[in-house]
């Protein structure tokens, strides 16, 4: 059939949706599958025209029949595939799903190559290598496009720092990183699954070259394919590095700032739903040192508290004892308490001991005895691990119990 280029292009344009769908499948189809594609993408009241589309597509060189396959199959000619790929580049981006798809395709083609080795079928081997080449070219092109997308977006984001809120930027940059940079990493990562597939592919190509060493057409295709494989990996590595370099500082910065913003919002939300003290108590370590034994006047709270105290009048009279004296009741002296402790030798709970032995004791007897014993160097004082509640002559106390054991002198052996 004689035809002009214009006629071919017009025909291609008229049935583009069918060819584009076939391109999307990325595998050869048999006659029934092709007719189903036509039915889906160019439906007609007269199904007999479907067969005509198949034959005219072959006549125009848009489709090629794979004669050597067990079942006759059809695929887009290399030139048409390249054309669709070329115009489709702007929509094509590397995603994890796409990488998984490529991986699947390459795995299938490697299996086919192994089958051609077993069957000693050099012509099928050449066809499979051509399919592999197309996948390698797609990975390379998609990587380049992803890189362009990343660079463009990075510039956009940098130029709109003032007009976009942090939360918006956080979402944008994360999306960019996850969808365009991370998948490129998968292509070049030597630990990723795709590397093992590419490694297998390289090995099978070598075996193919050795097996069909007398078939120059196979050797030529293998050399081309090996070089496409190398170029794909090199170029993908370069674009990955470029994309990463362009986005990484922004990603890290926005990532950290975004996490801070999200964290602050989350803390506020927790503060609204629970007591703030409870939320903070869950933190692992003491955040601040805020134990203190003195008030400071630059400390506003202490200052305010002191001012409040100016008008404070205690409702009991406090008696301050001169140094060296004490304010014990005449009926019970510190010496009485200490004497009882010395007689006891060791005491499990000093407060309980004082309370039980002296009916007229009060809290001052306990504290003075404690201070005297602690300073004497004669006793080991041990606080209980957990605080306890204790009733001291009707007063409710809460604190750690204090046990006393006599210290051994060094000369005691």
């Amino acid at each position: 059939m004689k035809f002009t280029a214009r006629q071919a292009v017009n025909y291609f344009h008229k049935h583009f949706s069918v060819y584009d769908a076939l391109y999307g499948l990325n595998i050869p189809v048999d006659e029934e599958e092709f007719l189903a594609l036509v039915h889906k993408h160019a439906p007609s009241n007269d199904p007999s025209t479907y067969q005509s589309i198949l034959s005219k597509s072959i006549d125009f060189g848009i489709l090629e029949a794979l004669e050597n396959a067990a079942v006759k199959t059809y695929e887009l000619s290399e030139a048409v595939s390249a054309l669709i790929e070329h115009f489709g580049q702007s929509q094509s981006q590397v995603t994890s799903e796409l990488i998984a798809g490529y991986l699947q395709q390459l795995g299938r083609y490697v299996e086919r190559l192994e089958a051609t080795l077993r069957q000693d079928d050099d012509e099928s081997a050449i066809l499979s290598i051509r399919s592999i080449d197309r996948v390698l070219d797609r990975i390379r092109n998609d990587s380049r496009n992803s890189c362009r997308a990343v660079l463009l977006e990075a510039v956009n984001i940098k130029s709109s720092l003032e007009s976009t809120s942090l939360r918006e930027r956080y979402t944008l940059v994360n999306h960019l990183w996850d969808n365009h940079v991370a998948p490129l990493q998968e292509v070049i990562d030597i630990n990723a699954a795709i590397d093992s597939t590419l490694g297998n592919l390289s090995l099978v190509l070598d075996r193919l070259d050795r097996h069909f060493r007398h078939v120059s057409a196979v050797h030529t295709r293998v050399v081309v394919s090996q070089s496409k494989l190398r170029r794909m990996r090199e170029q993908t590595f370069n674009v990955y590095r470029e994309a990463k370099t362009s986005l990484e500082p922004l990603y890290k910065k926005v990532q950290r700032d975004g996490l801070i913003a999200v964290g602050a919002a989350r803390y506020l939300s927790m503060f609204e739903n629970r007591a703030i003290a409870d939320v903070l108590e869950e933190m692992p370590d003491g955040f601040l040192s805020h134990s203190r034994n003195e008030g400071l006047f630059e400390d506003f709270d202490a200052e305010a508290f002191t001012y409040e105290l100016i008008d404070y009048r205690p409702d009991v009279e406090l008696v301050l004892s001169p140094p060296g004296e004490n304010s014990f009741s005449a009926s019970l002296s510190l010496q009485d308490v200490l004497g009882a402790v010395f007689e006891q030798s060791s005491v499990d709970d000093l407060a309980k001991f004082v309370e039980q032995h002296f009916d007229d004791s009060d809290s001052r007897h306990f504290f003075d005895a404690l201070c005297t014993l602690a300073g004497s160097g004669s006793y080991n004082l041990v606080l209980s691990d957990e605080p306890i509640e204790f009733n001291f002559h009707g007063e409710k106390w809460r604190g750690h119990s204090v046990s006393l054991t006599p210290q051994r002198n060094k000369t005691d052996g």
């Binding site: 910065k253 913003a261 602050a264 506020l268 703030i276 903070l280 003491g286 955040f287 805020h290 709270d301």
Partner: protein, 182 residues
């Protein structure tokens, strides 16, 4: 060197124990802590404190319950302010450390939502907020000049770390430069 001979020990002990952060602006104390960090760390450990050197090169003590009221005030102050920055600025950390904020412009008592949280920690009026800013200054988190302009200092990173770690504990922003995981 005997622990008692450590340079500026008394000042360092007094300041850190008050909850203050020692940064490189505290020239002598910072140098002494940097030069004798292990000795200081051991000394404070014996006293029941944990001395930490933050990766951004400031020092602080950890002790006491986080639920203490002052800690609640500090946390509420920072998380509200960081939330405000995220909503109104392109960045959080850059805005926090590169800008000065007039005291009257603080957002803490300007919206019902923030006011409610602040009132839970006893900060209900401007005077309370001013007092709280004074406490933060004493602790070394920020400083405020005579024109009532607030500048945030590097110890504020501790609250940024808290937010970061809450969302992404897997990549915890470990504050410790000289790691001490004992």
């Amino acid at each position: 060197m005997d622990s008692a001979e450590l340079p500026f020990l008394e000042n360092i002990y007094t300041d850190l124990k008050k909850g203050r952060h020692i940064t490189n602006m505290d020239t002598d104390m910072h140098r002494s802590l940097s030069d004798h960090f292990d000795q200081y760390k051991g000394l404070f450990k014996a006293l029941g404190y944990k001395l930490t050197r933050h990766r951004l090169d400031f020092f602080y003590l950890s002790a006491g319950p986080n639920s203490a009221l002052i800690m609640q005030k500090f946390a509420a102050f920072y998380f509200i302010f960081l939330d405000h920055l995220a909503d109104n600025f392109g960045t959080v950390s850059e805005a926090l450390f590169n800008q000065r904020f007039p005291l009257p412009s603080l957002p803490h008592l300007k919206s019902e939502r923030y006011k409610k949280i602040m009132s839970e920690v006893g900060v209900s009026v401007e005077r309370d907020l001013e007092n709280l800013v004074g406490r933060l200054q004493t602790a070394g988190f920020l400083h405020i000049n005579n024109d009532k302009l607030i500048t945030f200092d590097s110890p504020s990173h501790r609250f940024l770390d808290m937010c970061h770690d809450l969302v992404n504990p897997a990549t915890s922003s470990d504050p410790i430069e000289d790691s001490d995981h004992d």
